[in-house]
Each structure stands twice: as C-alpha cells, then as structure tokens.
C-alpha cells in the first residue's frame, strides 16, 4: 500500500512542530528555515495552512531534471533528489507548478520532501492531526465517514 501526506488545514494551529521535525530529521538541527514543509499563516482570516510536495505521479521536477538526479523511491513513491548527481541548475524549481522543490544555497543542491523513507517526521510531530500519512487511495475516507455518519446516524426528522 502506498501512503501519502494528507493535510487538513482546519486542524493546523501554526505551532511549526512539523517544520522543526523536518529540519531535524534531514539536518540534525531545529531550523524552520531548512524545512521542506512550510506553514503559511493568513492573518486576516486566521487560517494556518501547511504545504509541501504532494509527490506527483508524472512529476514535473523529475522530467525537467537534465542529469536525472530526481528518481522515484520504489517503496514509498516519493520523488527523491540524489544530492551527488544534482548540479544545482534549478530547472526543477521552475518546472514545479507548486513551488515545493527549492534550491539550498549552503549545499548548492535542491531539496524537496522525500517522505523520510516512509516515516514522515512532520506527520509524526503534528500534535493536532493536521498532517497525517495515510493510504494514498483513501485520502477521502475521513470525509466520507463524516458524511456517511450524517446520512445514517442522525435522528430521523419527524
């Protein structure tokens, strides 16, 4: 079963535990600036929204890479940057429609979410369930269950 990161922005409080967990897992340091997942805080509505790579099936970044530095992790389906191959040309950052692959000046390479090899640190750290790692085929299961509950479990109107 392939799993994907699933985001429920309504549950996000803006605590940035996900950003710290991501940076710690990849760099061994608590640095939100190095995180591959970012939380956006929209002050005028009060909404906080985490955003990261959704691991496109036909990934623009992968197809755009001239040196084939981005490959598919067969176990997780993640599109993974091979740092030794990456030449830092940044073409992938232009190709990605979502902005979720970015250049890192300190290393001269690009970075993106690689699902931590199948155990994403961000989902593990999220205290509210705003970020979960679930069955790729059934990301709508939670919402379906809510509506099914409404359909079948409410007291019948008189």
């Amino acid at each position: 079963m392939q799993k994907v990161l699933h985001i429920n922005a309504d549950k996000c409080t803006g605590c940035l535990q996900c950003e710290m967990a991501c940076a710690f897992d990849n760099y061994g340091t608590f640095a939100t600036a190095k995180s591959r997942i970012k939380v956006f805080d929209f002050h005028h509505t009060g909404k906080k929204v985490p955003y990261t790579c959704t691991q496109c099936d036909e990934a623009w970044c992968l197809h755009a890479c001239p040196v084939e530095a981005i490959t598919v992790d067969k176990l997780t389906g993640a599109k993974v940057v091979n740092e030794t191959t990456c030449v830092g040309c940044k073409v992938c950052t232009i190709a990605c429609p979502f902005g979720t692959i970015n250049y890192v000046q300190e290393t001269g390479k690009v970075q993106k979410c690689d699902l931590c090899g199948g155990e994403p640190a961000c989902a593990d750290a999220c205290p509210t369930g705003a970020i979960t790692f679930i069955d790729a085929n059934w990301t709508g299961l939670g919402k379906m269950a809510q509506w099914a509950d409404k359909l079948g479990n409410q007291p019948t109107a008189a």
């Binding site: 409080t13 803006g14 605590c15 710690f24 760099y27 340091t29 608590f30 640095a31 600036a33």
Partner: protein, 617 residues
C-alpha cells in the same frame, strides 16, 4: 549545551554592535531567558538607576529550550528596570520572534545607552546592524512590522517592536511581536522607546543544533507532549476555550474583582467569557471566536483569533479592525470588562486590538480605567477633564480613553502614568489596586488567599505569573488547597514562585505547568543541556533567581512596606460582600512573616547570609 553561546551587545549611544561569548558559568547557574538575562542586568546596572535614563539597559533573552522541539519552546523575555514600578521588570512573550532570534545563533541581545535618532536592529544570522528608523517612528506595531518586511523584501522576517505608546513613554507600554504576542507588563516598551529603539527585526536560518543528547531530548519532549495532550486543561480546555475558560469559574467562587475591586462578582461575566466568544452574535449571527492559534512549538494552542461585528460602534469607518485578529485572553477581558463593569464583548475586543496595535498592557490600562471610573463616580474627575462621561459600565468611555491613551492625547496622557501615580495625584492613593505600583490581574485576593501573598511579594509588582497559586487554590493542580485558608500558603507561594522561575528561564511557557511539574522539565533540560538539571537543582536555581531579583529590588530601595496590598483588600471594611468568600479579606499580615521565614529572609525581607550562601549568591 543548546545555548547558542553568543550574545549581542548594542551600544545605542555609540551606534556599535558587538558579538561576545555567553558567560557559560552564569548560563549554567541561571539557565537562560528570565534568570540569565536578569543576572546580566543586575551585574551591569546600578539598581538605583532612573529606568528611563540612558544608564538603564534593556535585554531580550532566550532560553536553552527556545527554538527547539520542546513544547512551547518559543519564548523570550525582555528584562530591564521597570518604569512603572522602579523594580526589576521582566516580561516574556511567545509568538515566533524568540525562536527566530535563537535560530539566528544568539542567546540574547543587550542594549545600553540611548540613540540620538530612531533606530532598529536588524539581525540576519551573523549580520547584526543598527539601521535608521525615522520612517518607522510614529507608526503602530502592525505598520512597523509590515514596513520592515517590505523594506527588506523578506516576508519571513520576525519583528519585535513598540507602537506609539512606547515612543510616548506610556509607563505600561508593551513590546509586541508577531502582531499580537506581547511582553506586556511593567512598561518594558517605555524603556525601549526612551532609547529611541523602535524594533528588532530578525531572520535566523542557522537553527538550534547543539543539543547535548539529541536522542534523549527527543524522547523526553515526546513524553512531555503526551502529558500535555492527555491533561484536561492543556489538552482540551485551553485549546477549545482559551484562558477565557476561567471567567465563569472565577466569578462563581466570588473572586472576580469588579468595578475597581468594589465587588467580587460581576453580573456581566457571562457576556464576556469563553462561552460568549463562541456563541453567535444577535447582530450578525457570527461568533467572535474564529479559531485558536499556537505560538512557536506549542502543542497546547490557547491563543484566540477573533473577528469583530463589523457594525459595532467602535469600528465604524475603520476597516483595519474588521479582519481576523488577536482575540481576548482572560486577563484582558477581565481588565477591560469586569474591572470597569463593562459587558460589551465587542468593545473589549476593539480595545484589545488597540492594545496590541500600539503596544500597551491591557491589565494595567483596564485597572487604571477602573480607578478613573471610581474617581469619576466620586465627582473628583469630570466629563470636561476626561472628554467623556465615564461611569462604571460605559463601553464608550473605555474605548475612547484607550484611543486617547495609545495616541498620547488629552486625559490619555494622565492614564499613561498608571493607577498609582494617577490616584495619588487626585488625592486617593488607596484606590490604586496595585502592589509596587503594578496593577493586579483578574483574581481577587480576598477570596483567594495565596494569590494575595503572591501579588504582594511578586518581584515585578502585582502579577499572577510569578506564582500562579490559582492552579492549586482553584483548579487543584497539583493538589487542591482551600482558597479561603491562609494557612500553608506561604510555603505554597514559595514553591510556585521558584518553579515558575525555572520554567521561565528554560524558555518555555508557564501554561505547561497546568500539566507539568519540574519532573517533566528536568528530563528535557537534561537532554538539551546537562545531567545536572535534576528536579532539586531546578528548584534551587528557581529560588536563586527569585532571591537575585529580590536583592535588586532591595538595592533599588524597596522594603518590607512594599510587600503590601491596598487596604480595600486587607480590611474588614473592604471584605467580600457576596459569594462563597463573603466576609473574607486577605490575611497578608499573618502570611508575610511566615513567608519571609520560609524564604530564609530576615524579618525585614532581606535574604540572610546563610540563605545567600546556600544559593551561591
């Protein structure tokens, strides 16, 4: 480890910014944030200094757990000699600024002297320089943050700044970061303004990486987060209702100071608490509460994001207040509401926004208005002086006087002094509901004995955050004690004060202590910093910090006589008129000598030689 090991020293007179190594001996002994920043201040500043003079210093300090994955590990403290009280001032704030500053590779920044013209400090990792702030002077906190980010073309910059109140020397001006998180009390913002320092803008990309034992630390933080999640207060109550959950609880036990502490129960409490915020308004069918919000690293998320009724009289033709914004916490809702007999929730939210926008402490402001309204009722202050009729219960008066205060206009200039100076000026000092010149927060010390002792002995003046015995006396955390009983409270107050100093100094939020004790802090400190941070050592460090602050105040001229409460709270005449505490007054006179004894102080409230030696002071 987990200290960055470096501090910034900024001489505003000379315009210089220098890096120096952190004094690690002090760091080990005083941890960080509140404790360590205060250690630097008391070593470098004469306690008798005029708080608003160039000789005072002001320090922004993070703790060793600031900027880590410890829950609530995002806090910083602003430390200086306070202009409202003349005592040590030490106000901490959440939001994101503290973690950003730590991630830039600094533990603290010390400002000394006074700049000839407005400046702001810009920090981007190793780069730290003073920049011209003439274009920011006269701007609000909200405008300042926006202008700085646009000027730098960097939306990820975090800003800690003052609004007009700090510039104008309002004695209870706050330092505000991330739009609505504040180092709110004791007038730290006025000291910042007196130095012509408008803001500190920070971008930190280095991170906090020198955790002593990362594996142990991560295990300890995970276990501690589980404790928070499974606790009724931190796991359920605070995220859903915020601190406003307290309004009805405190009113029911007859401990909600009302109309400048003339009463202890407010008939309008139900209109201004958590339930009211979550109930659709009659006017537009919408709830004031939009959502909750966390500060950096916080797994509790008690913060409120609210949205006002667009048709409310306070925001007619003022579109800037119509979006979602920082909402009412319990202390602000009480101070702006019950303390003045006002039950208009929308008006309270408007004034709350003004407090954040221009940077003032809503507790001292609201409590001062309470005194103004009482003086108005006595005929001592008039409509002509105030610019408005100001009887208790007038939402229009609170809103108007807030605008006058933050903008430095009319009678607002007198409110800017705080209640102690204002009531003295008009011949009724007994009407100031304060200790050491700082106004009490939202718990009545006639109905809750221990908190009265905590107010009277708080090193920064009247305050609930230096020893929150409400946890024990009302909520039963960690054990229930009788709020009406003064026996045993001196020891309880001491234990709360010492533990709080340790939590504050680690860089964590005191709200964790609804669920955590030092037994939860210790493994996190050990994982991050060193094996020596046992429960006993943390309690001892907390006690050391408390005594250090006390000795600064003693040197500044405070005596036993300043460990006091106003006669209204300690006399038969002022006793509670209603509720479960009817007939009670605070038994401070009984508790104080026992407290001094428990602290190892002489009968005049001075740490004895033996106490100083035991605490390595």
């Amino acid at each position: 480890m987990s200290w960055a090991g470096k501090i910034l020293r900024v001489n505003l007179t000379a315009g210089t910014v220098k890096s120096e190594p952190l004094n690690m001996e002090w760091a080990q002994a005083y941890i960080g944030s509140r404790g360590l920043g205060t250690k630097y201040l008391v070593e470098e500043v004469d306690a008798t200094v005029d708080p608003l003079s160039a000789d005072n210093k002001i320090i922004w300090a993070t703790g060793p757990l600031t900027g880590t994955m410890a829950s609530t590990g995002g806090r910083y403290t602003v430390i200086t000699k306070g202009p409202l009280t003349g005592a040590i001032a030490c106000s901490n704030s959440g939001g994101y600024w503290g973690a950003e500053f730590k991630m830039a590779g600094w533990d603290m920044v010390i400002f000394e002297g006074k700049s000839a013209k407005p400046v702001f400090l810009y920090v981007n990792d190793d780069l730290a320089e003073l920049r011209d702030a003439s274009h920011l002077w006269g701007k609000s906190v909200w405008e300042t943050e926006e202008i700085i980010k646009k000027g730098l073309q960097d939306p990820l910059t975090r800003v800690s700044s003052i609004g007009k109140a700090g510039e104008n020397g309002v004695l209870f001006a706050a330092v505000v970061n991330d739009l609505h998180r504040a180092a709110g009390r004791s007038g730290v913002g006025a000291v910042m303004g007196s130095k012509n320092l408008k803001a500190i803008a920070v971008r930190g990309t280095k991170g906090v990486g020198n955790i002593r034992d990362p594996k142990a630390f991560m295990a300890a933080t995970k276990a501690a987060k589980k404790v928070l999640a499974e606790n009724g207060v931190t796991g359920t109550g605070l995220p859903a209702m915020g601190t406003q959950v307290l309004m009805s609880v405190i009113n029911e036990i007859g401990a909600l100071p009302t109309r400048n502490h003339q009463e202890v129960q407010f008939e309008g409490a139900k209109d201004i608490g958590a339930e009211a915020m979550a109930t659709p308004r009659k006017t537009d069918g919408k709830k004031q509460l939009v959502t909750n919000q966390a500060c950096f690293g916080c797994t509790i998320a008690c913060g409120r994001i609210s949205k006002m009724d667009e048709g409310h009289f306070t925001i007619e033709n003022k579109p800037q207040y119509r979006g979602a914004n920082g909402g009412l916490e319990y202390e602000a809702a009480w101070a702006l509401g019950a303390a003045n007999g006002v039950n208009d929730l929308e008006a309270l939210q408007y004034v709350n926004m003004l407090c954040n926008e221009e940077g003032i402490d809503p507790i001292t402001f609201g409590a001062t208005i309470g005194a103004v309204m009482e003086l108005y009722g006595m005929g001592i202050l008039t409509k002509e002086q105030l610019g408005i009729e100001a009887p208790f219960g007038s939402a229009r008066a609170v809103a108007f006087l807030a605008e006058e205060t933050v903008n430095g206009r009319g009678f607002g200039k007198e409110i800017a002094m705080g209640s102690k100076r204002l009531t003295a000026k008009y011949g009724h000092p007994e009407l100031s509901m304060s200790s050491k010149g700082q106004e009490f927060p939202a718990y009545d010390s006639r109905a809750i004995q221990g908190i009265g002792l905590a107010y009277a002995t708080s090193n920064r003046g009247g305050c609930h955050l230096r020893g929150y015995t409400i946890a024990s006396e009302v909520l039963g955390i960690p054990v229930k004690t009788d709020p009406l009983e003064s026996k045993g409270k001196p020891e309880l107050v001491k234990a709360f004060q010492d533990a709080t100093a340790a939590f504050d100094s680690a860089g964590l939020c005191i709200f964790t202590t609804f669920a955590w004790g030092l037994q939860d802090l210790s493994p996190q400190m050990q994982g991050a910093c060193g094996e020596q941070y046992t429960i006993e050592e943390l309690a001892k460090i907390g006690e050391r910090i408390w005594n250090m602050e006390r000795e600064f105040n003693n040197r500044a001229g405070f005596t036993k006589a300043d460990d006091s409460l106003p006669p209204r709270l300690t006399s038969v005449e002022g006793a509670c008129k209603t509720g479960p505490a009817k007939g009670k007054f605070n038994e401070l006179a009984t508790m104080l000598p026992l407290y001094y004894e428990a602290r190892g102080w002489d009968p005049e409230g001075r740490p004895t030689a033996a106490t100083r030696e035991r605490l390595s002071l």
